[in-house]
Structure formats: C-alpha cells, structure tokens
Symmetry: C2
Subunit: 196 residues, 2 copies
C-alpha cells in the first residue's frame, strides 16, 4: 500500500496530488493522508516555510513549480501570500480520508490556492470547493470543527513525525519513505517489488 | 549545454556523477563543474551539512542513498565521518575540468569516499585515484596548490551562488536550474527543448 502524505500549504503537494489523481492512485488503492508541517518545521527550528527562510531555496521553488505545472498542464500562479493556513482544509480531508470526493476536494483546494490565489483559510472558499465536489458542505464543515476531527489531524501529524517525515509531499510504502513529488515513480516501483 | 554542478562531500552528487558518466553525459558534451557548498551553507546560517543539523533529513538521506545506490548497481557504505573535506579533490577537478580523465577521477574520489570510507582530504588518497585514471599525479597535485587553482575553485563557488545554487548536485541549462539527482532527466529534457 502506498500512502501519500500531503500538506495544503505545500506547492509540490499540489503537483503530486494532481499527478496521483490523474493516474488513478486514489483511495482505496492509495491512501491520501494530510498532516501539518508547522509542528515538524518548529521542531527543526523554523517558524515558517523554509522557502521563506532561505531565499535561494524559495526562488528555486517558485520557478521549479511553475515549470512542473506547465509540464503537467496545470494552472499555477504564485499566490500573494505564502504559506496559506490550510488548517481547516486539513481537518476536512483528515476526517474524510475515505470519501469518494476526497481527491477532487484536495485538488480543488490546491487549485483555489495556487491557480486562483484564494485564501484557503476562509471557510467560504473551502465550502465552495466542497459544493463543487458534491459533498454535504455544511455538515462537513461542522464536523471539521469537532474534537474528533481535530484529534484525527493531530494524530496524523504525530504519525508523520514518527515516520521520519520532514517535508511534503512524502510517500510511504511500509516503512520506506520517499520525499518529493519527483519520487512518485520510485515509490510506486517500491510498492511493486516482489515481497521478500 | 548542460552543466553538472557537484560537491565532493555530497552523497547525492556521487549518484549523479555515476549516472551521468554511464550515460555519456561527460565533457565536452556536458560540463562538469565542482564547487564548495561550505560558503553557500554558511550564508544560509549552517556550519555543517543540513543532514547533520536536521536529524530527520539525515536519517532519510542515508537510507535514500543506500536505496539509490543499490538501484544503480553502485557500492555504498555510510562513511565513518560526514561530511568529508573535499577541498583538495575540488581544486584538482576545478583545474582539470576538460581533462579526459576528469569523470573517472570524480567517480573514483566518490567511490573512495562512499564505498571504501577513505578520507578524501588525504593527498595520498587523491594521488591514488589520479594514478588509477592515468593522470600525471604529482604534477596535478602540485598544480592544485597553485593560486590559479584556488582562484578557479573560488570563482566556481561564487558563480554557483550567483546562479542561485543552494545544494548539490545541481544542473543548469542556460539560466534554468534543477536541483537533485532525481532531476537529471528533467534537465536533459530541458536541453532538448526546441529553441524559442
């Protein structure tokens, strides 16, 4: 089983989500798990994205994602604020990891964020995406504020850290970890290895 | 023209050098330029490799390089010291970027470092690799200590920084930058794009 670990503020996670969805690597075949990078970055001594802290890394990332999006045929515009606060979207995704609309929701949030420069922290933006994908938007948003949804996201974030995840997107196959959208094929190949 | 930017202390540069050499991407078709990550990391506030500073990144890298080396059929053993001081090897490579033996020398130094756990800061180790590849070892080592060789490596390191390079290996095609051995194919594809 391949697990796709993504964070809603992550540009490269947008590319990865679209690639996985286009190739049919969606639940239940492939698990889609969201988590928060904030606590993981804090443990590394970073109070924001490393793309903001290290200018050369940031300049590279913006150009690289632009190139990758063009290659994949995806719309991409550098947002006016980075990183966005993806907490609400993450609570929704975490609480509905098995919903049929989950991949469309995830990609819809990313497109709002990285193609349309919308603020995904705004419940109206998340609600609009939920409606687009045919979810019961009001019930889903109410459930996202429940203690259960909050606890589920915290648990995912803790599991990501325990698995050694330090960035997004990441991919796990059993205990094997692959970091970066450019490693999707390696992760898929690992899943296909003969069992020892 | 593709330029391969590498640093002798970098594990992923080892994988990249071997892959490029195996596929014939060597001078004069592809430029091989070494540089020093130390000054670039210092500008980012790091006094050693980020793989030492950030434990999760380090744990991932050691496992990832092990997997990649196995896939490429390369010998790899985690060295007893990391990073090694590659200054002498870099001065040699920088001063002989067009030598026919350059790719074999680069790969030989990496194998000494990452397969045989040798200290590549030791002139005897570099000398042994030079002899293996048919270079005039003593003359090359003497030239590596010249002001000209030192200035050439400083200039390469400054150019790497000016080009926005922040890690190794990196690849440039004109002003386009690609970071990581996993992006070799993207860089080659960029080189093959129709000229606009």
């Amino acid at each position: 089983m391949l697990t796709f670990w993504f964070e809603f503020a992550s540009t490269y996670s947008y590319i990865a989500a679209e690639r996985l969805r286009a190739s049919g690597e969606v639940p239940p075949r492939t698990a889609w798990r969201t988590f928060l990078l904030g606590p993981i970055f804090q443990a590394m001594g970073w109070d924001t994205s490393p793309f903001n802290i290290f200018p050369a890394k940031g300049a590279y990332m913006w150009r690289d994602v632009e190139r990758l999006a063009a290659r994949e045929g995806l719309s991409f515009h550098r947002p006016t604020q980075f990183p966005r606060n993806g907490l609400l979207a993450a609570r929704v995704a975490s609480a509905h990891a098995a919903a049929g609309w989950l991949p469309a929701f995830v990609c819809g949030v990313y497109r709002a964020e990285f193609a349309d420069d919308a603020d995904i922290a705004d419940p109206a933006v998340v609600r609009s995406v939920l409606l687009d994908v045919g979810a019961e938007a009001d019930a889903v948003l109410a459930a996202a504020e429940s203690e259960r949804a909050k606890a589920a996201l915290r648990a995912s974030t803790e599991e990501a850290g325990a698995r050694g995840i330090f960035g997004a997107p990441s991919f796990t196959v059993g205990d094997e970890l692959f970091w970066g959208q450019d490693r999707i094929d390696d992760a898929l190949a690992w899943r296909s290895r003969p069992q020892s």
